[in-house]
Symmetry: C2
Subunit: 399 residues, 2 copies
Amino acid sequence: MAVNLLPPEPKSLHPVPGVELRVAIAGIKKPGRKDLLVMHVAPGAVVAGVFTRNRFCAAPVILARKHMRNSVRALVVNTGNANAGTGREGLKRALSVCESVAKKLECKATQVLPFSTGVIMEQLPSERLIAALPGLKPGSWLDAAEAIMTTDTVPKAFSAKLRLSGGEAVVTGIAKGSGMIHPDMATMLGFVATDARVAPAQLKKLVKAVAAKSFNCITVDGDTSTNDAFMLIASGAGVEVKSEKDKKVLEKAILQVAQLLAQAIVRDGEGATKFVTVKVERGRNAAECRRIAYAIAHSPLVKTAFFASDPNLGRILCAIGYGGIRDLNTDKVDLYLDEVLVAQGGARHPAYAEEFGVKAMRKPEFTLRAVLNRGKASASVWTCDFSYDYVKINAEYRS
Amino acid sequence: MAVNLLPPEPKSLHPVPGVELRVAIAGIKKPGRKDLLVMHVAPGAVVAGVFTRNRFCAAPVILARKHMRNSVRALVVNTGNANAGTGREGLKRALSVCESVAKKLECKATQVLPFSTGVIMEQLPSERLIAALPGLKPGSWLDAAEAIMTTDTVPKAFSAKLRLSGGEAVVTGIAKGSGMIHPDMATMLGFVATDARVAPAQLKKLVKAVAAKSFNCITVDGDTSTNDAFMLIASGAGVEVKSEKDKKVLEKAILQVAQLLAQAIVRDGEGATKFVTVKVERGRNAAECRRIAYAIAHSPLVKTAFFASDPNLGRILCAIGYGGIRDLNTDKVDLYLDEVLVAQGGARHPAYAEEFGVKAMRKPEFTLRAVLNRGKASASVWTCDFSYDYVKINAEYRS
């Protein structure tokens, strides 16, 4: 049951010139379900990306990182099998898929980036993927969003139009993941494309800047997958990014789409009943604000309090207290639930009554704001609550 | 429902000469329940301790740290109220309790160490504690263990006898806590006493060494309380610790008692149905082994897999992968469930079948062993699983 998240309106998703989408049913995990996506990009397209930092990274991650050095012509994504923890054989199989896609699209295997998500520690049934390639059919962005779903209950796709100095451009993106909840099944993948023409170095900067403010600001349970990736594609089929203003306009549009996608992953977190923004303000630097925000957002105690609409102050202050700021003056910390001031100067505010907190927390969406009053930096993290269903889904899965 | 943990046999708990225990019913939280403990120690007794690192530390923690510089004559512990997040008023009230205890025992207030556990952000009803002092009655170590319980379902006390060069000595300890599960109610407190005569500097070293291998090796949900403390008392009423061998014998006995107490806290973790030892071996240093062990033990995904007896390899390898060793060669990692080799060289062992893993995990106690094969260090962490009841207890608490 996703929190305030509906499937996208097909009309709202603008096609991206220079990016052709094709989907197929390869029968990897479930029969009759779209599970293979090929994104064919125009010659001259530029691709940049960020990948998981998990040391157990998957074979496709290793290959995609390597192939990104070349001029990329295609991205191939399968669900049902993550091709992680599969050793040399896994690399061979991922490469064989790239080779077959390259043959079909008349490019080199080293110009194809592979992505996989699904079961870990089982060999990729590459023969089935290869056999499905002739059956690839043109698809919409919604088809693409559906083709990469695993435990997701809602396809995730967003789109924006923007005006650059040379004319109009579009940004459209898809993502999958319900947080790192089924690590065999729920890697986070994000693909955002624009038709704008962007220089490679600029796109590299852009993907890092955007990831830091979108996909790197979400947490469902703190675990990090072996296959996580966020890719940014600039097909170059549209207008050129010329001025500094153009850069800013494009970054803003890409960030908007990426944030909506990232938030959609949290909204679709397994068992989630609440969508919570944890904002830490007036810290010395963004890094310490992020540490505190994650300490709050990762605490199972805080997350079960969210579920129960119980504004258990102690749990939140505790998390702030162990969030890793050694010289934190707790006497200066203020705490808000939406607009309700619950604690001021590290202690309960005299005017605060628990019913105000309960009222704020009963909503399916609210913001928890911790003000450190020791600087000017801030950071936000989006998270969800921790419900019976989280344990149920994760305990019953596979058993 | 505690995992393999029974209330202690009263006979098994040896009195500690030089430590007089007195308990009372102060009616702080629940009427008719022992909730006040005073430990009166002989003149010349030595006390050393370690406290929470949470920045939001409680008023009694601040005072106890300060008073420890003096020659300590008493420790006073109340349950029902943590006196945390209570500002200056909290300090005043904690001090007033010390003053009253000092008056009764004819010592100075600065020779009394206060400890509190219970609700956070509410003022300590010190007047009720003070009013209960005349009603203090001599009690056993079991009475003392019961007097400090909050959400604990089983009183926790262990005892050992040892032979030093000068004669026999005893070590007896009590603890409370079911992990940082109800942060308003379940601070971890541990008090271990010996009649052996130990020099202050030596006791200081001892408490740190023992804490590192006992109370600092447990986790239920990763949260750290505002009031956590572990105190070591050497009453000096017994034989002197003279030789290096004496030191070792004493440390061994104290460690044994402290480890049993620490493990008892995990066994009594709210909702726990499994007691799991996570052992990381052959790392470069103990710190990196601990990081990996905690990454595994804190992962909600791994913990729900424990609950389901589902040896979900991916979840465990994932946690190892994000455990913070940047240059970890995952191709060298082996993984065992008890004696079952599940993964070798970072991949599933050919002889491993899931039924072996399930069989190992179905037991109420098992060991998960990750062998990094990059050094000679090792570390262990004790943890429990994550069940429906964890969410139930924490979500329904107060609501």
